[in-house]
């Protein structure tokens, strides 16, 4: 190949390789932007007139041309710089290592008298987002910045201002990182904004594509898009999106260590303490409104990811997108002792099929043909950008186990002067953090399974009478058209009460044939073949049947429900193929295999026993369902359960099935035939249309020195190293805890590789390989600086959820609090020794940890006043919850909606969030609180009746109905409100379950119990909690 071509630039051959998109067809992603948009739009189905507003998110991204790889051809010879040499940056390590804490916090008090309880201005501690200085920066640089959006960040610019050649700019970023990695630098302590602007255009122009990225140009094609986004990216915040995300984060910790003045100068006088903290100054999450572009690696080192809850667009430059996998700490401690000292958790949150941002590049598919992907012969790790080729490319060293393998002959390629393979940038598997390999025969024990959907509907008396059956049938009927097209899609349907009713949907029959399986102790499938039929052959029968089912069972007086037997029977019908089993259950399963008793009521009548053993009710009643679930998983049957009920159904027991098979529980309590069918439909539709895979196996491999300790999530584990996922979809997240089994080398990188072997809905067998390589460090301060708050907290949350069924509640809460305290204590002890003991010092990266911890303690799962089922659902929901949704679950967002019409035209659709404190809830306001699953609308007692009329169509708070269906009225207020709701729905991929709350009502109390910053029966106020933590730290210090 043409040697002179600079690395990183497109190679002549690159054009040829551009065909790759075609073979790379990935059904899950192929249609992604649009299908996503479509799905989201459905959220509005019940409100047709609001449709036009429904899709703000997709629209800005949907319009610009997608990112065809062809744009690569526009080569960038200009960007010749020697940038991509390996290892340029480390020189920086030599810089003086200053523990950042000391000077920083001392500088901060400059704003506020040290020791004084007066809080800092809110803006200071904030790491990013809407804090004023950046904003002002952006406004000043606004116009210029836009085109250069991709990389530079204000932080970089300040640091890099000195080095002249634009070409070096990219190198700066890594430099910065390494600086940070080693220790703090004093220089960037001031907000490093201003100077940056001038070099921008040049810099960006000159900047070569990031190392290892053949797709650099794509970054550019991004720009026009951004240009099309004005409504989205209001001028005032223009600087934000273009910022490289990692930068501010690095920059800020240096300067901004959150410094909470102690409650009191002295420990021991808590009461007065709270009064002296300004509640407005304590750390709170501030969302950033506009998307940031984030490159996963920069200058050959990992770039710390933006917060999981923020809006960002990923450029995969070697590491995987943080959506797929992120670590609790973005630097890996070299030893287990160091980790223990930090008191932090080392874990990965893996969401292998996470939904990408519509503007992100689809994952590339690589086909190695019959031989399958290249793998390390020892650890079986898959080829990835961090495998080092040596000996003229004839051998490669595995980054995971260190073994040296021979390069397969037909995969051989010479190395360039930089030591990289010359074809590295053309091969996605050598330059992308995430790729998908086409699985060869060796990865299949059988032909890839077709997409099978089996619907199982409760038709017992209660289910029919509450309208749950009708809602389920109607939802199914509507989603039939959303099932994957083609002959490979098969469906089946069954209903059950005290017996199980299958339906033969074969076309030859004039009408469906109902087949009843009456033996619910020892079930079987009533037909070998025709119970599950190709969709194309039975569509009419199916539709007819779904219309008939509610009336057919209308007069049924069978109160019993044989849930366990029914799923077993359905399983038997599906056993030979596998597939998705979608169960609609409405009452407590009372007969047949796995029948359950009304434990909750029994617990209530026998209070003395239940006090001590309350958590036992959160455990499965017996092992029968678990045994069944394991069998289901073995045969690749994934179960989702839609619980539409008015009563206790023992979710703790039922949920074992979906948890083990990679499914999930949907919970509609109390089910309302008025308001819930729409959500049921949307949930079902998303369940079916979201990107997903079948018969999957996942394994995470780590570099030597680290190993996987455990996996947790919704799956079945038969051997310690792998998790079996009968179904995996974009919403499912798996927590992978890690442990040291050896020392790591300081300055080296530790690699993580998640391999997911699965079958697409269109029947292709694929291996999705997700790689993350993070630097190792010996410095405790580095760990704190690179800690990932969202991930750490999600890890907390999931571990607490695991404990809930097995430990007394008090113990779980204490444990959670202690986790938080110990981290802060470690920081205080080892990284902030200089400061006065009278100060509560929080590491910048983790400054919200106390708030989230408090929120967690007050969350539904950790409260003991809740219903057993609510709590069971809560911790089951958590078990597969992704990081971006974990935070809002415990710390919901609250918006005022009585004044949504007053915003400026070009602002973000969402109004500003309001802290979760009743101080911020006015009597004349209407508030929307959402946690990703539920949404509460709270009416103050003196809301203006015209606002009520405009938004809801009634005029008095007294008329607030118990059930709510979103409507749009023809006024701007209502329109904006609908827009807000739709944006939230899109963000959450959830339709939201609305509840109306009224001050003075029990519903109002429910709303107020979400005000986590308030002091209430479930815990102290935020300020009190900080004081408590502070006191604990002080006690442990002394």
């Amino acid at each position: 190949m043409a040697a002179p071509v600079p690395p990183g630039a497109p190679r002549p051959g690159a054009n040829a390789r551009q065909q790759s998109p075609h073979p790379n067809f990935n059904p899950n992603f192929q249609t992604n932007p649009n299908s996503l948009a479509d799905n989201m739009q459905n959220m509005n189905l019940n409100r047709p007139h609001s449709m036009p507003n429904s899709g703000p998110r997709p629209s800005p991204f949907g319009q610009p041309p997608p990112f065809p790889q062809s744009s690569v051809t526009a080569g960038f010879p200009v960007a010749s710089p020697p940038m991509s040499r390996p290892g340029p940056p480390p020189g920086m390590v030599g810089r003086p290592a200053v523990i950042p804490a000391g000077p920083l916090q001392s500088t901060l008090p400059a704003n506020v008298p040290p020791g004084r309880p007066v809080g800092l201005p809110v803006s200071h501690p904030l790491p990013f987002g809407s804090r004023p200085p950046p904003a002002s920066l952006s406004s000043s640089t606004g116009g210029a910045v836009l085109p250069s959006s991709a990389f530079p960040s204000s932080g970089v610019s300040s640091a890099s201002a000195a080095p002249p050649p634009p070409a070096r700019a990219p190198a700066q970023a890594p430099t910065m990182r390494s600086v940070l990695g080693s220790s703090a630098v004093s220089s960037p302590q001031t907000p490093p904004l201003p100077s940056a602007s001038s070099p921008f255009p040049a810099m960006t122009q000159a900047r070569p594509p990031p190392p290892g990225s053949p797709y650099g140009p794509q970054t550019w094609s991004m720009q026009p898009q951004q240009g099309t986004q004005p409504p989205h990216i209001p001028g005032s915040t223009h600087a934000q999106p273009p910022r490289m995300f990692g930068m501010p984060q690095q920059a800020l910790p240096n300067q901004a260590m959150t410094n909470i003045p102690p409650a009191l100068g002295q420990p021991g006088a808590p009461m007065s303490g709270s009064s002296k903290i300004d509640p407005n100054q304590i750390p709170r999450p501030i969302p950033n409104a506009t998307p940031i572009v984030y490159e996963t690696r920069h200058g050959n080192s990992a770039n710390p990811p933006p917060p999981a809850t923020s809006d960002y667009i990923v450029r995969d430059t070697g590491n995987c997108s943080p959506r797929y996998m992120r670590c609790t700490i973005n630097q890996i401690p070299c030893t287990g002792d160091l980790l223990t000292t930090s008191a932090m958790q080392l874990a990965l949150l893996v969401q292998p099929m996470a939904l990408p941002h519509p503007s992100e590049d689809p994952i590339q598919v690589v086909d190695f043909g019959e031989s399958g992907p290249v793998r390390c012969s020892r650890c079986k790790g898959y080829i990835n950008p961090f495998m080092k080729f040596i000996d003229q490319g004839r051998k490669f060293i595995c980054n995971l186990c260190g073994f040296t393998d021979d390069t397969p002959r037909d995969y051989h390629c010479n190395l360039g002067p930089d030591g990289r393979r010359r074809d590295a940038d053309e091969r996605p598997e050598l330059c992308r953090g995430t790729v998908e390999f086409v699985a060869s025969k060796e990865y299949m024990v059988r032909d890839p399974m077709p997409a099978v959907y089996f619907f199982l509907i409760d038709v017992s008396m209660n289910a029919v009478q509450t309208g749950a059956t009708a809602a389920a049938c109607s939802a199914i009927n509507q989603v039939i058209s959303d099932l994957p097209e083609g002959t490979r899609t098969q469906v089946g349907i069954a209903t059950f009460d005290s017996t199980i009713h299958f339906y033969n949907l074969k076309r030859a029959l004039q009408q469906p044939l109902m087949l009843i399986v009456p033996d619910i102790q020892d079930v079987y499938t009533p037909l070998e073949t025709d119970v599950i039929v190709q969709l194309s052959e039975c569509r009419q029968h199916l539709e007819l049947l779904l219309e008939n089912i509610p009336t057919m069972f209308q007069t049924s007086t069978t109160a019993e429900s044989c849930f366990g037997a029914a799923i077993k029977a359905a399983f038997l019908a599906m056993k030979s193929i596998g597939g998705k089993l979608l169960v609609f259950q409405s009452v407590l399963p009372s007969v047949g295999i796995g029948a359950l008793s009304s434990r909750e009521a029994e617990g209530r009548t026998n209070i003395s026993a239940s006090e001590k053993e309350a958590h036992k009710l959160l455990q499965p009643a017996d092992k029968i369902l678990k045994t069944m679930a394991i069998e289901f998983a073995e045969y690749q049957v994934c179960v989702d359960v839609f619980v539409t009920t008015q009563t206790y159904v023992d979710i703790a027991s039922i949920s074992v099935i979906p948890r083990t098979t990679g499914g999930q529980v949907y919970y509609y309590y109390p089910f309302s035939a008025v308001s819930d069918p729409a959500k049921l439909y949307n949930d079902l539709r998303w369940n079916i249309t979201r990107p997903q895979g079948f018969e999957a196996v996942m394994r995470v491999r780590c570099s030597q020195g680290i190993q996987v300790q455990d996996y947790s999530g919704n799956f079945c584990k038969r051997i310690p190293t792998d998790v079996d996922l009968a179904g995996i979809d974009c919403d499912k997240c798996i927590l992978v805890t890690l442990k040291h089994d050896d020392k790591l080398q300081d300055g080296s990188e530790c690699g993580f590789q998640c391999a997911l072997l699965y079958t697409t809905v269109y029947g292709q067998r694929r291996i999705r390989v997700t790689n993350l390589s993070l630097p190792c460090t010996n410095m405790l301060s580095n760990l704190f600086r690179s800690a990932d708050l969202d991930t750490q907290f999600t890890c907390f949350l999931k571990q607490a959820a695991i404990e809930i069924p097995t430990c007394p509640l008090l113990q779980v809460r204490d444990h959670v609090t202690n986790l938080c305290i110990n981290i802060l204590l470690s920081y205080r002890k080892f990284c902030a020794t200089v400061s006065s003991t009278g100060q509560l010092i929080l590491p910048e990266a983790l400054k919200l940890l106390p708030l989230y911890t408090l929120a967690l303690i007050k969350s539904r799962g950790l409260r003991n006043d809740g219903r057993i089922d609510d709590r069971s659902f809560w911790f089951n929901y958590v078990s597969s919850l992704s990081t971006p949704l974990a935070i809002p679950l415990v710390y919901p967002r609250m918006f005022a909606i009585h004044n949504v019409d007053t915003k400026d035209g070009d602002e973000s659709v969402l109004p500003p969030t309001i802290p979760l404190s009743s101080e911020h809830v006015c009597d004349d306001g209407i508030y929307l609180l959402e946690n990703g699953e539920d949404a509460l609308i709270y009416f103050g007692s003196s809301v203006d009746s015209s606002i009520l009329q405009q938004l809801f169509g009634f005029t008095s708070v007294d008329e607030v109905p118990t059930q709510f269906v979103m409507q749009q009225f023809s006024n701007p207020l209502s329109k904006n409100f609908n827009d807000v709701v739709n944006v939230i729905r899109q963000q959450r991929c959830s339709y939201l379950r609305f509840a109306l709350c009224k001050k003075g009502d029990p519903s109002g109390m429910a709303f107020l119990s979400c005000m986590v910053e308030d002091k209430n029966a479930n815990g102290p106020s935020y300020v009190e909690f900080l004081v408590h933590i502070h006191r604990q730290i002080q006690m442990k210090m002394s």
Binding site: P512, L513, L515, I516, P518, D519, D522, T529
Partner: protein, 771 residues
């Protein structure tokens, strides 16, 4: 043919006995060789039987029914029971009785009378009988498309023939059992039971939602029924034929062959056993006393679940007689045990199992025999559902009118007999009710240990063989005691096809004879035909129940003993041997019995043997005799059809022979006749006579076929044709390849080493006269 039509050897009583005069002692009886037995056809219709619309009078001690042989004191209004000599007063409503005003049962010629036990339906509701008969069709779906079509159309036809009020249920099965809920109007609905698991009656009821009288209400809108079942829930499954005919037609149209996959080299998975259990369970939900039949249409062996007779692996053949003999049939005993318990359940419910098996291979009739026979069910074995043996037989079951089988339900037979007569048991389609009494013998043959038998199903031609013994207490001490007559009374209660309860009372009397004094009377009372049939039935029974039983030897020994006892001869002089005409046919019957399918079972499959024996046991004497010794009629020019010797010598080139061996009817054309026919002479007007000759045996064959159930197989063949074996197998091999020189021209020889009748007689004579 003609003999059957003209003679009515059974008379009004339909009772035939091996001996019509009985020796007085047990010892003497045993010397008679042929056991004391009576063959009865309990409800055989006869134009002379009076119908009495009132309840019978019963003796207050032995509960025998007042009959023509009772001595009546008209003055005292007293009758003396001929069985126990109890004096019984006539009840008030008999006050009018006098010598000139006798009730029907006292007319001397009315030894058989029939009582209509139920009060006639009230006039308001005269055409709505209370308990309509129930027919549950149990259809095998493991068969090829073509067969299924045959059987479906047979079923449709049958349903069309059912009385409108008869209730119909439908169960289909293959790998699993599907109970069709015919009363569900929204869509076709079936309850599915697994084929591999034995299921109890209670479970079936519970699973069908029939437990505790419909505790579980129905789903949907079941059609309302106006009969006695409304509250049991079973009306969801059993509907009047008129209501469900359309539903069933549609259902049958859509019914497919079993969809479960069949592995290559394997038999279809067929759960006949469970299907029958489930059907029996379904019927258990009917009111007690309901007449119900399970009509099983089976197309192959049971290979799944209880009642399995063979594994699914095709490399393993279905058990043969040899396997049974060597105890090498691993499934047999278990299956028989299962069907035995099924039989018990059905009998306790009073329901019938009919078996229609059509397959080239065996289907397990041998195992299911117990359930069919104990319940008095019908059985038809054919090669295909398209074959006339099945098609026509099946149609006959449901046909009304002259050829109706007269299917009745819930029969119960009680036998009263004179003191000193003991009943050993009954051979035939019935079940012992274990009703002990003084007349029960110690030794049991067949269904014994009782004086009452249940016949869940019976029809006009059902026959039973009752075996008697004499009390071992010697009453010969009092020879010449007053009563030289003994009495037997057969009481049969049953539901007739209309659902009315009837009681038939047959009282017969025969004479005691002191055989030590005079064997002449005894001789004259011998019924050779009946004796032959009874011997055949006993032989069959012994072959089935006694291990290592050598039937041929046993028959030979008995025949020799009989001939020694009743023959006239000089000792050790075979040529002096003669037999009384009353016995003259018996050795030939025995000769043919030894050669018949009942004894020579190795030519047949166990299924066929079971089938033949069931029919042997349930047919009347005349028909059973034909099974043992077929009748042969010869047709030729210049003479009327005439009986021909059952001998190969009867074959002649210019004759047509009609062989009736009961199960098959063979029309055999001599060589010349066949040639003429092939040349088409019968179509030429000048050869009208030939056409008529050709036609005559066919017409006669059709007559036989019409009369008979199951419909026999008709074989039309030519001399030297391959089908001719059906005739040759039955003929006496008087001419074999060993002596082929001396046969008449146009006749035939049989390739066999079997002894001929002549040789058999020679040996018999020699052995009989041996001292």
């Amino acid at each position: 043919m003609s003999e059957m039509a003209n003679m009515d050897p059974e008379g009004i009583d339909a009772v035939r006995m091996t001996w019509n005069v009985w020796p007085r002692t047990k010892v003497e009886a045993s010397k008679c060789v042929i056991p004391l037995a009576a063959s009865i056809a309990p409800i055989r219709p006869h134009t002379d039987i009076p119908m009495l619309p009132y309840a019978p009078l019963r003796c207050k001690t032995c509960s025998a029914v007042l009959n023509a042989f009772a001595r009546v004191d008209f003055m005292a209004k007293i009758w003396i029971c001929p069985f126990c000599y109890q004096r019984n007063h006539f009840p008030p409503h008999y006050a009018m009785i006098s010598e000139t005003n006798l009730p029907g049962e006292l007319y001397p010629q009315y030894t058989t009378v029939q009582y209509a036990l139920q009060s006639f339906p009230d006039p308001n509701n005269s055409n709505a009988p209370q308990l309509p008969p129930v027919f549950v069709f149990v259809l095998d779906t493991c068969m090829i498309e073509e067969e299924l079509e045959f059987v479906k159309s047979a079923m449709k036809q049958a349903i069309g023939l059912l009385p409108e009020h008869a209730l119909v249920g439908f169960v289909s099965f293959g790998t699993q059992v599907q109970v069709h809920e015919l009363g569900f109007s929204d869509m076709s609905k079936v309850y599915v039971f697994r084929g591999s698991k034995e299921i109890s009656r209670e479970q079936v009821l519970e699973h069908l939602g029939l437990g505790s009288a419909g505790r579980r209400p129905t789903v949907g809108y079941p059609k309302v029924l106006h009969n006695g079942y409304a509250n049991t829930g079973v009306n969801r499954f059993l509907l009047p034929a008129s209501d469900c005919e359309y539903t069933l037609d549609t259902l049958l149209d859509e019914l497919q062959t079993d969809q479960w996959p069949v592995q290559a080299g394997h038999r279809a998975s067929r759960c006949t056993g469970v299907a029958l259990s489930v059907s029996a369970g379904l019927l258990a939900a009917c009111l007690p006393g309901t007449g119900a039949r399970i009509i099983a249409l089976v197309g192959g062996p049971c290979t799944e679940g209880p009642g399995t007779i063979v594994s699914k692996d095709l490399s393993e053949p279905v058990r043969s007689h040899k396997d049974l003999d060597k105890d090498a049939a691993p499934y047999f005993k278990k299956a028989v045990k299962f069907y035995d318990s099924l039989a018990k359940q059905l009998v306790s419910q009073g329901h019938v199992l009919d078996l229609f098996a059509s397959a080239l291979d065996q289907v397990g009739v041998a195992e299911m025999k117990v359930a069919v026979e104990r319940t008095g069910g019908l059985v038809v074995l054919a090669e295909s559902f398209g074959h006339s043996v099945f098609k026509d037989s099946f149609k006959r079951v449901f046909e009304d009118g002259e050829h109706s089988l007269g299917l009745c339900f819930n029969g119960m037979l009680e036998i009263n007999c004179s003191k000193d007569i003991k009943i050993q048991g009954v051979i035939g389609p019935c079940t012992s009710l274990e009703k002990k009494g003084p007349n029960v013998a110690d030794t049991v043959i067949g269904e014994g240990n009782t004086t009452a038998w249940k016949m869940c199903g019976l029809n006009k031609s059902t026959s039973l063989t009752v075996l008697f013994d004499l009390s071992s207490t010697e009453r010969s001490n009092v020879p010449g005691a007053a009563n030289s007559q003994f009495y037997l009374q057969f009481l049969t209660s049953y539901q007739d096809p209309e659902g009315k309860t009837m009681l038939r009372v047959t009282t017969v009397t025969r004479q005691w004879v002191d055989s030590t004094v005079s064997s002449e009377e005894l001789l004259r009372g011998f019924d050779q035909e009946t004796a032959a049939v009874v011997m055949a039935r006993i032989t069959s029974l012994k072959m089935e129940t006694e291990e290592g039983f050598d039937a041929t030897r046993w028959l030979d020994r008995n025949l020799i003993r009989l001939c020694s006892k009743f023959g006239d001869y000089r000792k050790d002089d075979p040529s002096s041997f003669t037999l009384n005409p009353c016995f003259s046919l018996f050795p030939q019957f025995m000769f043919n019995l030894r050669r018949s399918q009942f004894v020579q079972v190795f030519n047949n499959s166990p299924d066929e043997t079971a089938y033949f024996r069931m029919l042997l046991n349930r047919e009347n004497i005349t028909n059973a005799a034909v099974m043992i010794q077929p009748s042969l009629i010869s047709y030729s020019f210049n003479s009327l059809p005439q009986p021909a010797l059952l001998d190969v010598a009867s074959i002649s080139a210019d004759r047509i022979l009609l062989l009736d061996s009961y199960f098959s009817i063979v029309v055999f054309h001599g060589m010349t006749i066949a040639q003429w026919r092939n040349m088409g002479y019968q179509n030429q007007p000048e050869h009208q006579a030939f056409a008529e000759l050709l036609q005559a045996p066919q017409a006669d064959a059709q007559m036989i076929i019409q009369e008979r159930f199951p419909v026999p197989r008709l074989v039309v063949c030519d001399q030297h044709g391959s089908q001719a074996r059906f005739l040759l197998a039955k003929l006496n091999p008087s001419a074999t390849y060993n002596n082929s020189s001396d046969i008449a021209a146009g006749s035939d020889i049989i390739f066999t080493d079997d002894v001929s009748l002549q040789v058999f007689f020679e040996h018999l004579q020699r052995l009989a006269v041996q001292s």
